[in-house]
C-alpha cells in the first residue's frame, strides 16, 4: 500500500491489573488503505475492540503504557494534544461500538442524541435541519417510520433497531475512517444483509475507509478488501482478503478457517483447541506456539516478526504456509 490513510507502527498498550501489567496490544503494525474496507478477525479477547478504541484514543482508565504511532494522513494521533484529538472524533473518525444496548444514553431520545452528533459534525445546522438529517439517516439504515423513532427512547427499541440507530449515528458523522465493532451481531440474517449492503454503498459514497471488526468470516469475506487476523493482542497475518482466505499463511488463520468451515454457513468463530494466552503472563516465543500443531523448539523460544511473505501479504510465523 503506497499511501495508506492510517499507518499503525509498533502500537503497544499495557494496562494495570490486580495481577500485574496486562499486555493488551503488542507491537501492532498495520496499514489501512484509502477507500478500503479492512476486516479484523480473531477470537474473543484477541484485542480487536482495544485496537479500535486506541485509534480514537479512548483509553482505559487503568492504562499503563501506550507506545508506537498511529498516523492518520500525516498526523500522529498518539502524540496529538487532547483538544486536537477531540476535534477529530466525530468528524474524521467515528466508531460504532460493540454493544448497542449500552452505547445509547437511556434518558435522551434517539433524536436528541443524533441531533447532537449531526450538529457537532456540521455546527451551522439548526435543530430542525439536524433532525431532518437524522431522519434521513435512519431511513437509510432501513428503520421503518424513522420520524416516530426519533422521539423514542433507546429502551423502547429492539436490539436490532438500536444497532441500526448506532450505525446511522456513525454515518451522520461522515467520517474518513469508520470503525465498526461487530456492527451486525445483534441482527438477524436479513437485516445483517441490509447492513452489509449499506456499508458497501457507503464506501462508494463517501470514499472513506472502514475497519470492520467481526467474528463472522463469511461477512468479512463478502465485504472486506483486506484482512487482518489478530491473536493475543497482536497481528499474526494481513493481506488482501481473497488471497488470505485462499491460502492462509499463519497456522492460526488456517485454524480459524477450519472452524468456520466446520460450523457451516451459520458459523461464527468456533473455538480452537487450547486457550487464549493470559495477557498478564505473555509467552516467551510465538504467541500461538502453545496451541500450534506444527510448533518447533524455535517457536517456543523466539517470537516471529510480522514480515512480508508475498507481495501485499505479511505473516508472523517462522514457518508460514506456502503462498502462491
Amino acid at each position: 500500500m503506497d499511501d495508506p490513510l492510517l499507518r499503525i507502527r509498533g502500537l503497544t498498550m499495557t494496562a494495570r491489573t490486580a495481577r500485574g501489567p496486562a499486555r493488551i496490544l503488542s507491537d501492532i503494525h498495520l496499514d489501512i488503505g484509502r477507500g478500503r474496507i479492512l476486516g479484523v478477525v480473531g477470537e474473543s479477547g484477541s484485542g480487536k475492540s482495544s485496537l479500535a478504541s486506541c485509534l480514537l484514543r479512548l483509553l482505559p482508565p487503568n492504562l499503563e503504557r501506550l507506545e508506537g504511532s498511529v498516523d492518520l494522513a500525516g498526523t500522529d494521533l498518539l502524540s496529538l494534544p487532547e483538544p486536537a484529538m477531540a476535534a477529530l472524533r466525530g468528524t474524521r473518525i467515528a466508531m460504532v461500538f460493540q454493544d448497542p444496548m449500552s452505547a445509547l444514553n437511556p434518558v435522551f431520545t434517539i433524536g436528541t442524541q443524533m441531533v447532537d452528533v449531526a450538529r457537532r459534525r456540521a455546527p451551522g445546522l439548526t435543530r430542525a435541519q439536524a433532525l431532518a438529517k437524522a431522519e434521513a439517516m435512519l431511513a437509510r439504515v432501513a428503520i421503518p417510520d424513522p420520524r416516530a423513532r426519533l422521539a423514542a427512547y433507546p429502551h423502547q427499541l429492539s436490539g436490532g433497531m438500536r444497532q441500526r440507530v448506532v450505525i446511522a449515528m456513525a454515518l451522520l458523522a461522515e467520517p474518513e475512517l469508520l470503525l465498526a465493532d461487530e456492527p451486525t451481531t445483534a441482527l438477524d440474517a436479513t437485516v445483517e444483509a441490509q447492513i452489509v449492503a449499506l456499508l458497501d454503498d457507503l464506501r462508494r459514497d463517501i470514499a472513506g475507509s472502514i475497519v470492520l471488526i467481526s467474528h463472522h468470516l463469511g461477512l468479512v469475506a463478502q465485504l472486506c478488501d483486506d484482512l487482518c487476523v489478530m491473536y493475543a493482542g497482536t497481528v499474526v497475518e494481513t493481506g488482501p482478503t481473497a488471497a488470505v482466505l485462499a491460502a492462509p499463511a499463519h497456522p492460526y488463520t488456517r485454524a480459524l478457517l477450519a472452524c468456520e468451515i466446520e460450523a457451516g454457513d451459520e458459523g461464527r468463530l468456533a473455538s480452537i483447541p487450547g486457550e487464549v494466552p493470559d495477557p498478564v503472563a505473555p509467552a516467551q516465543g510465538c504467541v500461538f506456539a502453545p496451541r500450534c500443531a506444527r510448533a518447533e523448539p524455535r517457536c517456543h523460544a523466539e517470537p516471529p516478526l510480522l514480515r512480508d511473505i508475498a507481495p501485499g501479504r505479511r505473516a508472523a510465523c517462522h514457518f508460514p504456509g506456502a503462498v502462491p
Partner: protein
C-alpha cells in the same frame, strides 16, 4: 406522558394515600391505647374531677373504640383535627398558622443544599483525586457528621451574637418580608449544611459511576464537548439515584427542622409539636404530626414524579416489550 405514565402516577397516588391512612390509624392508636385513665394522662394530676369528666365527654373518650375511630377519621377527612385541650382553639387553625413558616424553612434548606451540593459534587467528580476533591471529601463528611442543631447554635453565636450581622431570634415581622428573609438565612443554612455535604458526596459518586458508562464513551467518541458530556449526558443520569435518596431524606430534614426552630425560637410545626409534647397537649401533637406525615408524603410524591420526568424507563414500567 403516555398510558404507562398515567399508571405510574396512579400507583404512586395510591401508595401515598395508603401511607397517610396508615399514619392516621397509628396516631389514633397512640391516643386510644395510652395506658391508664386517658383524662388523667392528658390533663395531668391538677385537673378537677368535674373538668376531667367534661373533658372525657367532649373528647368522646367514653364511647366504644370503633365509634371513636370512626369519629376521628371522619373528623380528619373534613379538616377537623380536634381541639387544643388547653386553649380550646381548633388544632387545624393552630397548625395552619405555623405551617408556612416550616415549609419555607425546609424548602429553602433543600434549595440551598441542591444549589450548593450539586455543583460541588460535579466538581469533585470531574476533578477526582485532586486536592480540592480531597478537601471537599473531608468537609462533606464533617458537615454530615455534625447535627444541625449544633450547627444552628454555632451559627447563632457567630453571626448573631459576635458579628451581629443578622437578627437573632424569631420568625420576624409578618408584614416585613425583608426582615423575614434575614431571619431565614441562619436557620436554613443550619438545616442545609449537612445536606450540602450529603448531596455533594451523592452526586460525586453517581457522576463517577455514570461517567464510566458506555454511553458516555459514545458521546466522547463523537467528539461532543466535555461540557455537554458532563452537564447534559452524564448529569441527567446521575440525578436519578440522587433524587431517590433525597426523597427519603425529606423525613430527616423535617425532623432536623424541629430542633432548628427551637434553637432559633422560630414559630413552626417543630416548635408547636415540641411545646405540645412538653405539656402533653395530645390533640395538638396528633394533629401536627399528621400534617407532617402528609407533608412528607406530598414531597415524596413530587420527587417520584420528577423521577419519572427524568427517567423514561420508569414511565414505561409495566408496558409490554420493546417495539420491533
Amino acid at each position: 406522558m403516555g398510558a404507562g405514565g398515567a399508571r405510574y402516577l396512579a400507583g404512586r397516588l395510591l401508595t401515598s394515600l395508603l401511607i397517610v391512612f396508615g399514619a392516621m390509624l397509628l396516631l389514633f392508636a397512640l391516643s386510644a391505647l395510652v395506658p391508664g385513665d386517658p383524662a388523667a394522662t392528658l390533663l395531668g394530676p391538677q385537673a378537677t374531677p368535674e373538668f376531667a369528666a367534661r373533658f372525657v365527654r367532649e373528647m368522646g373518650l367514653d364511647r366504644p373504640l370503633h365509634e371513636r375511630l370512626w369519629l376521628f377519621l371522619s373528623n380528619v377527612l373534613t379538616g377537623n383535627l380536634g381541639v387544643d385541650v388547653l386553649s380550646g382553639r381548633p388544632v387545624a387553625g393552630l397548625v395552619l398558622s405555623v405551617l408556612p413558616s416550616t415549609v419555607i424553612l425546609t424548602f429553602s434548606a433543600i434549595g440551598l443544599a441542591v444549589l450548593a451540593g450539586v455543583p460541588l459534587g460535579i466538581f469533585a467528580a470531574t476533578h477526582r483525586g485532586s486536592v480540592a476533591d480531597n478537601v471537599l471529601a473531608i468537609l462533606s463528611v464533617a458537615f454530615i457528621a455534625v447535627p444541625s442543631f449544633v450547627v444552628a447554635i454555632l451559627l447563632l453565636l457567630v453571626f448573631s451574637l459576635w458579628l451581629d450581622w443578622l437578627p437573632v431570634l424569631g420568625g420576624g415581622d409578618a408584614s416585613d418580608p425583608i426582615d423575614q428573609a434575614k431571619r431565614l438565612i441562619l436557620p436554613a443554612l443550619a438545616l442545609a449544611l449537612g445536606w450540602i455535604g450529603f448531596i455533594a458526596r451523592l452526586v460525586r459518586s453517581s457522576m463517577l459511576e455514570v461517567m464510566a458508562e458506555p454511553y458516555i464513551r459514545t458521546a466522547r467518541a463523537y467528539g461532543l464537548p466535555e461540557r455537554i458530556v458532563t452537564y447534559k449526558y452524564a448529569l441527567k443520569n446521575a440525578c436519578i439515584p440522587t433524587l431517590a435518596i433525597l426523597g427519603l431524606g425529606i423525613g430527616r430534614l423535617l425532623g432536623g427542622a424541629v430542633l432548628v426552630e427551637i434553637v432559633f425560637a422560630r414559630p413552626g410545626l417543630g416548635r408547636l409539636i415540641y411545646d405540645a409534647i412538653s405539656v402533653r397537649n395530645f390533640p395538638v401533637v396528633q394533629g401536627s404530626v399528621l400534617v407532617v406525615v402528609v407533608l412528607f408524603v406530598v414531597v415524596n410524591l413530587l420527587v417520584d414524579l420528577s423521577y419519572a420526568a427524568i427517567d423514561p424507563r420508569l414511565r414505561d414500567q409495566g408496558r409490554g416489550g420493546a417495539a420491533r
